[in-house]
């Protein structure tokens, strides 16, 4: 029988050594806790502070840089709730509001790909739910090591299977995302999950514990030992430490196990509780579990809470206060409920077979107090845990940037003739990062809920919100680690530009931004420089495009040993579509239509897919973002699509015009013939920003030309759709069947066929 480390005992045993370092706290941080409390922390308090002050929960290294998102955000009447909430909330009109956020689950997905990715989906869904919204779709931005590396063969199928398992069973359509490969992600894959939810304006919920006497109810799953220390140990340490058996990971599974069926019940239960007006405050339990939910609710509310930890339903009776506080068991929520509504609350939970327990009440004492077996084990000012330390980490531009910049891709040999151009295009189309992604997306349900208008491989996911009016939302995520490695400021703006452009290509108007900033160790000044540049780039870019950042997530320590991943900010853009029935996709249809290239093309190959795939080269400068041009292009696309002038639109990004044309041909099953000006190589493979290719609806050519001119967007007729090959006059022709074969065979060849072998009829 172990002795309970009570507050009284802590006060009486001042000098007792405590394992703060093992829990991820520095000596300075430990001293700060002692100074705050005026005594040493109890074991439970130490556990609570360690998870709350972890990098993952406290944003202690990133906070000073993230502040500029709010400081420089363009004024937006659409923003109903901004940074600092579980997720930002955006007004999309007709009394609808949308909330969306992207979050990382990188480290768990390396340790246990299936459950790591699955619980990543579950966690972000609960964030959206906690805002009062019904979750309506998910997306995933994935990056892995080399496609042919044996470990990628372990990690990728597990991650995809986990997302498939959790998202499909939960009933949320998966409407898009990204898949890319690079050696820098070997040993550190990126699994970023986005969720979007829809609500009415009046449905917004708050994460605060107000009204002394109100009851605190924990509902959903029971609390077990899974994920104990996940936030502090895993997400704040490199794999070199964790995988080689840090004491925590040796003792317990650091990755949580997901139960999507329970999450589905929890979603329906919460929405019924919200509709009944039974909740005054709500918080999801994610990283740092009960510790985080109680401190954040108390810190945001009227200042105090009393929690009886004995009342927490356990699935392992041996857990004590520190483990209960740190557990990251999934599918749990915490609500604040007026005493007179508790019976109704519990009745709704019973209807949905969701376990619920009153574990405490709101007080006006200004303290977060927790008891265990009748003794006080936690007694802290909640804001001291919720606010956490703030670090100004040293940053330094690494000298290696100069060498990288000097490696100008202009030196690379270019294809000499049409046959060479043809070969390079096929090499790009068959490369793992650009190949057909059906192997992945076919494992996801994109149809459930019946409102999916566009999904992968279209430029953005597009959802119908209102069946009567056609109001909808478009979402895209983009990131490019190669661009960001060359220049994190410009690379981040390019990611923002691409997501913004992808949303616009459906006919939607971009409204708001979320981001998941994936970087190496913040204790490395070179990484910290990358991070600071990326944050500055995003803030400046959002200001220029007139779209605010509404929330996001930072993932540090993405590195193996001392080798950090490419800096990889993943940017999600949300747009509103006035009438999804007028949307266009990327596919060329079988009606002949003029093809128009929009935007300016220059010889920009730094970080390009062509340099990467055809030469294994990374160097020079990334393409120059042109945010004014992006705005003009997006406005043109929205206007042209609203007027019904376009039959197809596809943004130009990785692989340039060549890859875009091939994708549009394959998507619609119709070929095209294009005539290119003087330098076909540059026109085909450059990755200049702010460009799109559109198919103009027959009869609308003049109107579209005038509209493009009015918007100041350069528009060049380059050919027309039709036929069954992709033909570049004077250069090459590729039959669609050959394009399709090259495009579709790569991922099945790497990761196994989706269909069984030919079924032999008897």
């Amino acid at each position: 029988m172990t002795v309970t480390d009570t507050v009284a005992r802590a006060a009486a045993t001042a000098g007792l050594p405590q394992p703060f370092a093992e829990l991820g706290l520095t000596a300075d941080e430990y001293e700060k806790i002692v100074a705050t409390l005026g005594r040493r922390p109890t074991g439970a308090e130490l556990a609570l502070y360690s998870v709350m002050w972890s990098e993952h929960c406290s944003y202690k290294s990133s906070k000073v840089h993230l502040r500029q998102f709010a400081a420089t955000a363009p004024p937006s009447a659409a923003l109903l709730a901004g940074i600092g909430h579980n997720a930002g909330v955006v007004d999309i009109g007709q009394d609808y509001a949308v909330t969306f956020k992207i979050e990382s689950h990188n480290h768990p997905s390396y340790v246990e790909p299936h459950q790591g990715a699955a619980t990543g989906v579950g966690g972000i869904v609960r964030d959206i739910l906690a805002m009062g919204a019904r979750p309506v779709a998910v997306m995933d931005a994935l990056r892995f090591g080399p496609a042919d590396a044996p470990d990628t063969g372990r990690v990728l199928p597990g991650v995809v299977g986990g997302i498939s398992f959790y998202g499909n069973c939960l009933g949320l359509p998966n409407i898009g995302g990204e898949l890319d490969f690079d050696p820098s992600y070997a040993g550190n894959p990126l699994v970023n999950a986005l969720c979007v939810g829809v609500m009415r304006h009046g449905d917004l919920q708050v994460a605060e514990a107000s009204g002394p006497g109100s009851k605190v109810i924990l509902f959903g799953s029971t609390t077990g030992p899974d994920g104990v220390g996940g936030a502090s140990v895993l997400a704040s340490a490199t794999f070199g430490d964790a995988a080689s058996g840090g004491t925590e990971s040796a003792k317990r599974p650091s990755v949580q196990v997901g139960d999507p069926f329970l999450e589905k019940l929890l979603v329906e239960c919460c929405l019924e509780l919200f509709a009944g007006g039974l909740v005054t405050g709500i918080q999801d339990l994610g990283a740092a579990g009960v510790a985080c939910a109680t401190t954040e609710l108390a810190a945001a509310g009227s200042g105090g809470m009393l929690v009886r930890l004995d009342e927490v339903p356990l699935r392992d009776a041996t857990l004590g206060p520190p483990e209960i506080l740190m557990s990251e068991s999934q599918e749990r929520m915490m609500a604040v409920v007026e005493p007179g509504r508790v019976a109704e609350f519990l009745a709704v939970c019973a209807k949905w077979d969701v376990r619920a327990a009153v574990i405490g009440e709101v007080t006006d004492a200004g303290r977060l107090v927790m008891t265990w077996r009748g003794e006080t084990v936690v007694d802290i000012p909640p804001a001291s845990a919720a606010d956490g330390p703030v670090y100004h980490r040293p940053l330094a531009r690494p000298a290696s940037q100069d060498a990288l910049a000097a490696g100008d891709p202009a030196m690379l040999p270019r294809p000499a003739d049409g046959a060479g151009l043809r070969a390079d295009l096929l090499a790009l189309l068959g490369s793992p990062g650009l190949a057909d992604k059906s192997w992945v997306t076919d494992q996801y349900d994109r149809y459930v809920r019946g409102d999916t208008v566009l999904a992968m491989p279209d430029d953005a996911g597009l959802l119908r919100v209102d069946e009567a009016t056609g109001l909808g939302i478009a979402l895209a995520t983009d990131g490019n680690g190669r661009y960001c490695r060359l220049d994190p400021y410009l690379g981040t703006q390019l990611a923002l530009s691409e997501a913004y452009r992808n949303v616009a290509a459906t006919g939607a108007r971009p409204l708001a931004v979320t981001n998941c900033l994936n970087f190496g160790s913040p204790e490395d000044p070179a990484v910290m420089w990358q991070f600071a540049e990326a944050a500055r780039g995003l803030a400046d870019g959002c200001a220029a495009l007139g779209v605010p950042v509404t929330g996001g997530n930072v993932s540090f320590y993405n590195q193996t040993g001392t080798a950090a991943i490419h800096p990889t900010p993943v940017v999600g853009v949300l747009g509103v579509h006035d009438d999804v029935r007028r949307r266009v996709g990327i596919g060329f249809r079988d009606v002949p239509a003029d093809l128009v290239l929009l935007g300016r093309t220059g010889p920009e190959f730094g970080g390009s897919a062509w340099a990467h795939v055809c030469h294994g080269h990374l160097g020079g400068r990334p393409p120059a973002p042109d945010l004014d041009a992006e705005r003009q292009l997006a406005a043109l696309l929205a206007a042209a699509i609203a007027d019904g002038l376009l039959a197809a639109a596809h943004d130009l990004s990785d692989g340039g015009l060549a890859v875009a044309l091939a994708e549009s041909c394959l998507r619609g099953g119709t070929g095209c013939t294009v005539r290119l000006p003087e330098d076909p190589f540059t026109t085909l493979f450059s990755e200049s920003a702010a460009r799109a290719v559109v198919a103009v609806r027959p009869g609308s050519e003049t109107a579209f030309g005038q509209l493009a001119e009015a918007h100041g967007v350069p528009a060049a007729g380059i050919g027309s759709t039709g036929g069954d090959s992709l033909t570049v006059d004077g250069c090459f022709a590729i039959p669609l069947a050959e394009l399709a074969a090259v495009h579709t065979r790569t991922l099945p060849a790497l990761f196994g066929p989706v269909l069984p072998g030919p079924v032999v009829p008897d």
């Binding site: 589905k264 019940l265 076919d442 494992q443 349900d445 149809y447 409102d451 119908r464």
Partner: protein, 222 residues
């Protein structure tokens, strides 16, 4: 015309089935798994999803839901019943339909638009089609491989109880490429593909699935 749509814990496509019923011109009526009685509906749909998480054999728990105690005798007495995906699995578990659904041959969940051939256009749920007609409807399942013993398969073929068949590649290893079957009377139909996701070209690959819902309207009206 009132068509019930049952919601079990973990049902996911109940909203879509109700929309399909509405687009076909009938009134959808929500039925709750835990309630007794069928609220006087003229037909019932068991929608897709993961009832009870499919943690046990798919449909094996849902078949014991209170509402099933009323549904099973009503179905045996001629009430038109359509089970889609998880609903098909539940109907098999409840022995309203022969056979069983097993893991896809590729061992992965797959979503794809599949071409189907209507083999029996005489059932309560397919009479809006013509025999041999080809349609395109989404398939999305991890345990969609239809299985039955050789005698049962021969009987199904002989009696016209194979309602639809995969017309392209057999996507999941189903016996004889069977995508849907019916009871001997043609009133109870189970489908692995999801016609409720093919009721509007805006949100599906086609509107080919609407015929299933229109069929039962015609029958109930007759």
């Amino acid at each position: 015309m009132r068509i019930g749509v049952i919601t079990f814990p973990g049902s996911l496509d109940d909203r879509d089935a109700a929309r399909a019923v509405r687009l076909a011109g009938a009134e959808p009526v929500g039925l709750w798994h835990g309630d007794r009685g069928l609220r006087g509906v003229d037909a019932v749909i068991l929608p897709g999803g993961f009832s009870y998480g499919d943690y046990l054999r798919c449909g094996a728990i849902a078949r014991f839901a209170p509402v099933m105690a009323d549904l099973v005798p009503a179905a045996r007495a001629g009430l038109p019943v359509l089970g889609i995906c998880n609903g098909f699995q539940i109907l098999c578990e409840a022995h309203l339909l022969p056979g069983a659904l097993t893991r896809n041959a590729g061992l992965k969940f797959i979503t794809r638009d599949v071409p189907l051939r209507v083999e029996n256009a005489g059932t309560a749920w397919t009479r809006a089609y013509s025999g041999g007609e080809q349609i395109v409807v989404p398939l999305k399942s991890g345990e969609g491989a239809y299985a039955a013993d050789a005698g049962t398969l021969a009987d199904l073929e002989a009696s016209g109880q194979v309602v639809i068949r995969y017309a392209g590649d057999n996507p999941n290893g189903s016996a004889d490429a069977i995508a849907g079957v019916c009871n001997a009377e043609g009133t109870v139909v189970g489908l692995m593909p999801h016609p409720e996701h093919a009721v509007d070209p805006l949100t599906g690959p086609s509107a080919d699935g609407l015929g299933f819902f229109a069929s039962v309207l015609a029958r109930v009206a007759a």
